[in-house]
Amino acid sequence: MGYRVVVDFDLCESNARCMEAAPEVFEVRDDDFLYILDETPPDELRAKVEEAVRLCPKAAVSIADD
């Protein structure tokens, strides 16, 4: 089953914990903003994305199942 990475950019404060959990998917760039590198990552990255969801102190990251 496919899934989508969703970030609420009103909540995101670029804490970059998501980037540490799943650098293939999240990147806080030098402008200090978060960029999603892959909105529909492969299944093998799902555990990492779920870790990113848990570690986000602003609860800004979520997963939408398609």
């Binding site: 404060e13 804490n15 970059a16 980037m19 200090d32 848990r54």
Partner: protein, 411 residues
């Protein structure tokens, strides 16, 4: 099928519960929480909730399982205090909304910490600490009645955030700190002094190096007298002078207690008993010291780690901590004050050297790294989150100071 009890219904307890279920534990799971509320997120209490911008609904913690909290299939005993533990008998006695005894095979101790109070001010109204949702709503209701002057005692993170939020609502605020430099133990002297300057820039009356002598009033607080004789008018006093781990219920339990519940390197405190979050102290291999960390991030990662250790221990009949990885995180926290975000990964206290590697104090936007011997042990940033992520990786890898400097030179 073994049964597991989690004592503590906040972040560490909830993350332990989630991890137990995620790892396939499908036995009976009971959570005991002394507050009447289901788990909620505390960091916004000193900020968005106190400011009046957020209500309770915004504080629900993310639960990954489909169906959220209910899908975790937990017997919630809220408004209930664990009064005592008997490790040998494997029972807990309860007090409050639920009473009686609970038996368990596995136990997670995640009872957190309680704010310290100032001794000797009796029962005056208008003196508050801020830890729980109910604390926060009490303080907020005083703010909603437009106090003339707020005195915040203690310029640690809670005090500093409360001061910033109260200024944001337009109140006159005095911030009193007994130490000459705020936050020195957490962020070092240079950054501590900078945070005091930032409060002054925002119009806070900052009094450093002076303690509170007494608090007076008829039935409500009216005056705060400082040790240097200064008398401050006040109709709200918020005290943020640190917390003490909630271990009182564990005296005589058989667990080792010393500024928290002492665990082994895998979070195991006794056979079938783990501890996590603010209440737990464990020997950190990385830093060579027994640590007790009071940060949000630690509650998440230690709650999860402790849950895995507990399952391994139950499966291995008391020898499980041999079978799991040591708990060895790089501690991380943030604090939001005004429009500044401070983040620290690793340690700044006791460092031999601090070096600014990006931005500057003058801009109030910078990253600084900390050296202990020949290693990089900490990174602190103000409004520079990417830098924290970069250097945190080096700290995690126990990188040499020279390597961190090379990173800084490369930009």
């Amino acid at each position: 099928m073994p049964s597991i009890v989690v004592v503590g219904a906040s972040l560490a307890g909830l993350r332990a519960v989630e991890e137990l279920r995620r790892q396939g534990f499908d036995g009976p799971l009971t959570v005991v929480g002394d507050e009447p509320h289901r788990p909620y997120d505390r960091p916004p209490l000193s900020k968005q909730v106190l400011a009046g911008d957020w209500e309770r609904e915004r504080l629900d913690l993310t639960v990954m399982a489909d169906g959220g909290l209910d899908a975790l299939d937990v017997d919630w005993r809220l408004g209930t205090r664990a009064a005592s533990l008997d490790v040998a008998e494997r029972t807990i006695t309860l007090a409050g909304a639920s009473t009686g005894r609970l038996s368990f095979d596995g136990l997670v101790v995640a009872t957190g910490a309680t704010p310290r109070v100032l001794p000797g001010h009796g029962d005056l109204a208008g003196i508050h600490t801020l830890r729980t949702l109910d604390d926060c709503l009490s303080v907020r209701s005083v703010l909603d009645a437009s106090p003339r002057r707020v005195v915040v005692v203690g310029a640690g993170f809670i005090g500093a955030e409360v001061a910033a939020t109260c200024r944001g609502r337009g109140f006159d605020v005095t911030l009193v700190e007994a130490l000459p430099v705020p936050l020195e133990r957490a962020v070092g002297a240079e950054v501590g002094a900078l945070t005091a300057d930032i409060h002054r820039d925002h119009g806070v009356d900052v009094r450093l190096g002076v303690g509170v002598e007494r608090i007076d009033g008829a039935d409500r607080v009216e005056q705060v007298q400082l040790a240097d004789g200064t008398v401050l008018e006040a109709d709200l006093v918020v005290v943020g002078v640190g917390v003490a781990p909630n271990t009182g219920w564990l005296s005589g339990s058989g667990l080792a207690l010393d500024n928290g519940v002492l665990c082994d390197v895998a979070c195991l405190a006794a056979p079938g008993v783990v501890a996590a979050g603010d209440v737990a102290r464990w020997p950190s291999p990385r830093f060579g010291a027994a640590l007790r960390v009071e940060h949000w991030d630690n509650a998440v990662t230690m709650g999860e780690h402790a849950a895995r250790t507990l399952l391994a221990d139950l499966a291995a009949d008391g020898r499980g901590s041999l079978a799991v990885d040591p708990y060895d995180p790089v501690p991380w926290f943030w604090s939001d004050q005004y429009d500044r975000k401070i983040q620290l990964a690793g340690w700044a206290s006791g460092a031999d050297e601090m070096r600014v590697v990006d931005g500057s104090f003058d801009e109030r936007r910078f990253a600084a790294i900390y050296r202990k011997d020949d290693r990089v042990v900490g990174v602190l940033a103000m409004n520079r989150p990417r830098q924290v992520a970069i250097y945190r990786k080096l700290i995690e890898a126990n990188a040499a100071w020279d390597e961190a400097l090379a990173q800084a030179a490369a930009g």
